[in-house]
């Protein structure tokens, strides 16, 4: 019982500190960043393939 109580105190202290920031907000931010990176990669791939085809035409 005393051990569980100590474990609870430690866990509670850790979680109260760790969870100060809202993980849901960070998740949304990370997803947005991921989406942005994907779009940038796609845009880059499209523009380089366009450049490639223009070069071969020339």
């Amino acid at each position: 019982m005393a051990k569980t109580s100590k474990e609870y105190e430690n866990f509670s202290k850790a979680m109260d500190t760790i969870l100060k920031a809202d993980p849901a907000k960070v998740r949304a931010q990370m997803e947005a960043e991921k989406k942005q990176r994907k779009e940038q990669r796609e845009e880059k791939a499209t523009s380089s393939s366009r450049e490639g085809s223009e070069t071969s035409k020339a």
């Binding site: 569980t4 474990e7 866990f11 979680m15 760790i18 100060k20 993980p23 849901a24 960070v26 990370m30």
Partner: protein
């Protein structure tokens, strides 16, 4: 002030298993360099390149020839590795999660949404206790810590770590970080001893054997915790974690 580095590894399967442990060690950069030389010399002396605890236990991989049933050779080898660890690390940090409890409380409350998946939760507690230790020593800005790369739940851990500390955690492959082999060794030892101790057929004899098997780790200063369903349930009630619909 010395520069500190810590290395962590997870042991156990977060879905099929009963117990998940994340364990690791912190030491100074100078002592880790010495550790690496000594650890690799022990492995070299036995013709081993990388120490994997699961291979050692099952006499697989690099341990498939000449290790099975060789009790004295095995004991001596583990004792040498443990002595090398004890000599070169400052402290051990480990968190063990009892998975049945986690999943039971997760059915009643939004545990995963709040605390993350089992791996993320254990890694976050280890990060927290390590950082607290560093803060007490005034070494927060002289601390780097790495987790072994490739575990299930890495993305969630990154998210929670970024939320709490403003940056993603660092990851390393086992082949690139010799101290990760020591973390693997400790994680396996702790997880299996907790796993055995919660089995219904646990006896005093078994308990003594388990204590003996982790005796070498017990001499290293530690911050260790076990998160049970009771602990999670109590926190959810006290902090009014959202009840699952």
């Amino acid at each position: 002030m010395a520069m500190f580095t810590a290395y962590f590894d997870a042991s156990g399967h977060p879905v099929d298993g009963k117990v998940l442990t994340v364990a690791g060690f912190v030491s100074t950069v100078k002592k880790w360099a010495r550790f690496e030389g000594e650890w690799n010399a022990i492995l070299d002396s036995e013709g081993i390149k990388i120490f994997h605890m699961t291979d050692f236990v099952a006499s697989h991989g690099e341990f498939s020839k000449g290790w099975k049933g060789q009790t004295d050779r095995r004991r001596l080898f583990i004792e040498r590795l443990a002595a090398c660890l004890k000599k070169n690390v400052n402290k051990s940090f480990r968190t063990t999660l009892l998975l049945d409890g986690y999943y039971a409380v997760n059915k009643a409350y939004e545990v995963q949404e709040m605390f993350g998946c089992p791996y993320a939760l254990c890694c976050m507690i280890c990060s927290f206790t390590l950082r607290e230790w560093a803060a007490r020593k005034g070494a927060e800005r002289k601390l780097l810590y790495y987790f072994e790369d490739g575990d299930l739940g890495k993305g969630e851990f990154e998210m929670f770590h970024k939320a709490a500390y403003g940056a993603k955690p660092l990851f390393l492959e086992k082949a690139r970080g010799v101290p990760l082999q020591a973390a693997d060794f400790a994680g396996w030892k702790i997880r299996t001893s907790v796993q055995e101790s919660i089995k219904s057929d646990h006896t005093l004899d078994k308990g003594i054997r388990l204590l003996e098997s982790v005796a070498m780790l017990k001499t290293i200063p530690k911050t260790a915790g076990i998160i049970s369903g009771k602990v999670l349930d109590r926190y959810c009630q006290h902090r009014r974690v959202k009840v699952r619909n």
